[in-house]
Symmetry: D2
């Protein structure tokens, strides 16, 4: 079993336009929540996406696995949590979102690689920036 | 009264994720439909956004007025129509969307200016490209 | 000149997926920001959209006028402000968004009516709920 | 190796607002493409989402696995293809998107269950509707 070791948490709230005709947050929206959480983590850890771009660093997703467990509805609050590991050249984010009652909303595993000036890199600049968290 | 003289029509269909908890297409989505129609028009007229970017031309919206008349729901078909005029340095798109029964969905007026290498321009490159339609 | 009398302010931050290929927040996204601000206002004022739905009340947009003044980019912070008036059966929201430097991002006027159990109503239930703010 | 047996294909084109600041279609947008493809398939096969709702049937995603292989940019065309199997109570969609050159854009596996009047069902109504394709 994976040991959960969250290093970042972001409280968020459903915006009503994110809810679809089923009355629950649309499945694709969770990828937006997950992306926003990763970007806020990067900024908090000291290297925002704006700064990465300025340095020619482009993290690129190569795989997302997401399980939908409890839907979120209009106006609901959530907490989005993550931890990160490195697997070869990949940075792997383990990301979980919980609702206000503590029930798990989604469980996700997100793999990225880092392009540096257009080429696949080992991501050393990111490793340096995030060394306290890997 | 404005004389309506459509020069471009784009058939589209609601994608179900565009419908919100009210069961109708979310208000912001219509701006997406309108933008997509303008971009398809530009490509059809011979100057796509991809090409504009390559030439350093950046059309920028400065005003949108939109009236919501008949909502669209799950799976509905529509036709999005536009015509265009020039008012000073502005390009003004008159855009209307109709549902399958012919009822008007939205009526919009969209004003753009053209940035050329970061500065406000008279948009001569666009006028040249779209001269048959202005 | 309109007297500005904001009654509600919501701090927000650009989520990076809201930025389009131009490097600035996509024009339609501002309607999402505006909607989210109205919904947060309604909840704060004591009648959330979830509660409106439970009572058979459906506010419906009939017109949006929005001027785009200063674009927002990756990771930028903003404050979204509104005040509200009643014009006949319409509720009119005056909404402004400012960036962190205090520059105006958008200026909008949003008109709604209220459907009650599917029929256009005078919105008395909303007037009662929001009477301190009208 | 899985035998690929596509039963439905949908040509689509990138709408420029779907492209983010990286200049490529945002990762969450592909889930929208996949969902729209599934819904178009259902309608084509004879049971649209609108009709499912009218019958009290609510398909719900429980897992998505998606690999990002070749990014799509401004104005690019694609073809979205799927086939479907049943695994226990789950309906599993295998979905692939290809660009105009035939390169694979994403490869996805999407699992759904069917709620019937709020309860998990065996999805017999869906099996009946889609029996020619399972």
């Amino acid at each position: 079993m994976e040991k959960v070791k969250y290093i970042f948490e972001l409280p968020m709230k459903v915006r009503d336009y994110e809810v679809d005709a089923e009355g629950i947050v649309n499945n694709a929206r969770y990828l937006h929540y997950l992306e926003h959480t990763r970007h806020e983590f990067c900024e908090w850890a000291g290297l925002s996406f704006r700064e990465m771009r300025a340095k020619g660093l482009y993290p690129v997703l190569n795989k997302v696995e997401i399980e939908y467990k409890t839907p979120l509805g209009l106006g609901e609050k959530m907490v989005s949590k993550l931890w990160i590991t490195r697997e070869g050249a990949r940075f792997v984010f383990y990301q979980d979102i919980f609702n206000e009652q503590g029930a798990q909303v989604v469980k996700a595993k997100v793999s990225c690689v880092c392009l540096e000036n257009g080429r696949l890199s080992r991501g050393d600049a990111l490793v340096e920036a995030f060394k306290d968290f890997l």
